[in-house]
């Protein structure tokens, strides 16, 4: 991440406080994150990775989206796909709706970009596997 976009993020730190259940390991620490005048106070974590996770979750939770797209003329009617990087959790639904109306023609190779820069989120939708044409 470059400094500019990091700055943009810093400005948009949400107000208030939140308790986040850490998923880094199965210990599952309850981490308390508080925004005090733009400075994040993180408490309750027992490792460094947990602190980083809680910070990210507080500022802007992101997820890799994995779903399927309809396929025309393929061995199977669907191709599994994913975003090539994590996208904002709050935008997942819009992306799912965008994907739902698409149809791709077989054959497809793993890694093929099926939707470029989806909804300008700076992430591509890529194929998760090869899919040959129906014989």
């Amino acid at each position: 991440m470059n400094i500019e976009s990091e700055n943009k993020m810093a400005k948009s730190i949400p107000e208030g406080e939140k308790t986040i259940r850490c998923i880094v390991c199965p210990t599952g620490c309850e981490i308390h994150v508080k925004n005090i005048d733009g400075e994040l106070i993180v408490e309750g974590h027992t490792c460094k990775r947990g602190e980083v996770y809680a910070r990210d979750e507080f500022i802007a939770p992101k997820r890799i989206l994995t779903t399927t797209i309809r396929v025309k003329g393929g061995l199977l009617p669907l191709i599994p796909v994913r975003t090539d990087k994590p996208i904002l959790k709050e935008r997942l639904n819009e992306v799912l709706n965008e994907i739902a109306i698409k149809e791709i023609e077989a054959p497809i190779k793993m890694g093929d970009v099926l939707i470029k820069n989806v909804l300008d989120l700076d992430a591509d939708i890529i194929a998760s596997r090869d899919l040959i044409k129906a014989s």
């Binding site: 998923i23 890799i64 779903t67 669907l78 599994p80």
Partner: protein
């Protein structure tokens, strides 16, 4: 190689690389197995040091196997395996096949427990599926089994399907778990249920399925410690589909019919070389023990492949002497241990022990002891949960196993933090 999923592919690749001839028999229309329908991410962190989806993970193995020219037959059902290592299989083009192998690797995977296996009474309306079956419909075949769901069991597949169905526009009313704790990984509980406000109801089970032709809803009831229904706690939840995510069992009909011994966990009895009680027949992947991670499946499969190569090259038709074996026993809070036994003569080799706890616990001690209660090895751990398989690699020579050792008992016991001094 019986089965062309992740385990079968990984083992076939190491055998082919060793210069031996290998044939994969796969009953589905394509190679890849169940990993193909697990379209979510989280695979490959151990194997490839990056996070992949299931299809991406297994596609890499398919590609490597194809590049090496591994032979395979699809739509081919193995119907019998014999002690003499003859495999009988059928398909539409060859008819009946009789194949004589020098070694066989069992990699058939596991199957889901169904409504029958948890003795759920009542009518049999349409709309009851196992979670993996629904996963295949939604992710591969392109069908939605229903619109509004209740999921019984908080296994990982169930929780992942809860999110998947929500993403497909369905409503997941609740995930109901009979135990007081979640049986899948915390990660899935947070990212699949809590992220979408799907209620997780623990210490409850389904006591009635409503609807004669199609599921109309379920009654759930709180259970006591013996899992008996507590009267007066019944609640009705309306839904048109019920998914069961109530565990997996290794699929071992072929193994059993071949005459190999089966252990209590449902998988074949194996030694430290992953060889069953029939010499030259090996087992790996979920047919041996249900794994949490496909990464661990392929690691195990590679070991089975290498051991099969070693068998064909150096040990062909020389059965292991049974008197030379040390038994592995599941002790306190241990569900099962693999391997089931190992050879004294192999003591110098590293042995990977894998096992699961019966119930969750924190601040514990894992102990290995012999038949005279002499502790040979111990290790502290912060926690154990049944959903996480524990693997410990040990070099038995370094452990200095006593000459008269006949068995090794693995136990998970509380680790005393403060010693009470009675003096």
């Amino acid at each position: 190689m019986i089965g062309g999923g992740s385990a079968g592919l990984a083992a076939a690749i190491v055998i082919k690389k060793a210069g031996l001839d290998v044939l994969i028999l796969e009953r589905d229309r394509e190679l890849g197995g169940i990993t193909l329908q697990c379209i979510h991410n989280g695979f490959g962190i151990h194997e490839f040091k990056e996070e992949l989806t299931g299809p991406e993970f297994v596609q890499r193995f398919i590609n490597e196997a194809m590049d090496l020219g591994v032979k395979y037959k699809l739509d081919t059902m193995v119907v019998k395996v014999t002690k003499e290592k003859i495999v009988y299989a059928i398909n539409n083009t060859d008819g009946m096949l009789e194949i004589k192998a020098k070694a066989i690797i069992l990699a058939m995977g596991c199957r889901e427990r169904t409504r029958g296996s948890i003795n759920m009474p009542g009518f049999r309306p349409a709309g009851i599926y196992t979670a993996g079956q629904a996963q295949r419909f939604v992710n591969v075949e392109g069908y939605l089994p229903g619109r509004s769901y209740v999921i019984l069991g908080s296994g990982d597949i169930g929780m992942i399907m809860a999110r998947r169905l929500t993403w497909e526009g369905c409503k997941v009313k609740a995930v109901v778990e009979i135990q007081p704790y979640v049986s899948g990984l915390l990660r899935n509980q947070v990212q699949c249920l809590e992220d979408y406000n799907i209620p997780l109801i623990t210490s409850y089970t389904i006591t009635r399925i409503h609807g004669r032709h199609r599921v109309k809803g379920v009654t759930i009831s709180k259970v006591d410690r013996k899992f008996d229904r507590i009267i007066g706690t019944d609640r009705f939840i309306e839904c048109d589909t019920l998914l069961l995510s109530v565990g997996l069992i290794p699929e071992n009909e072929l193994t059993q019919n071949a005459g190999a011994a089966i252990s209590l966990n449902g998988g074949p009895v194996v030694d430290n070389n992953l060889e069953t009680t029939i010499d030259g027949i090996f087992a790996c992947g979920n047919v041996l023990q249900v794994h949490d991670l496909v990464d661990l499946v392929v690691a195990e499969a590679k070991r089975a492949g290498l051991n099969a190569v070693e068998y064909i090259n150096n040990r062909y038709e020389k059965p292991v002497e049974q008197k030379d074996l040390i038994k592995c026993i599941a002790g306190d809070n241990v569900n099962y241990v693999k391997p089931d036994h190992f050879k004294k003569s192999d003591e110098s080799k590293d042995i990977i022990f894998s096992f699961r706890s019966k119930r969750p616990d924190r601040r514990i001690l894992i102990q290995f002891k012999d038949q005279d209660n002499k502790v040979l090895y111990k290790r502290k751990r912060r926690y154990v949960i049944p959903s996480e398989m524990i693997e410990i690699k040990l070099n038995l020579e370094e452990l200095e196993i006593p000459q008269e050792c006949k068995s090794l008992e693995v136990e998970i016991i509380p680790q005393p933090e403060v010693l009470i001094d009675n003096g």
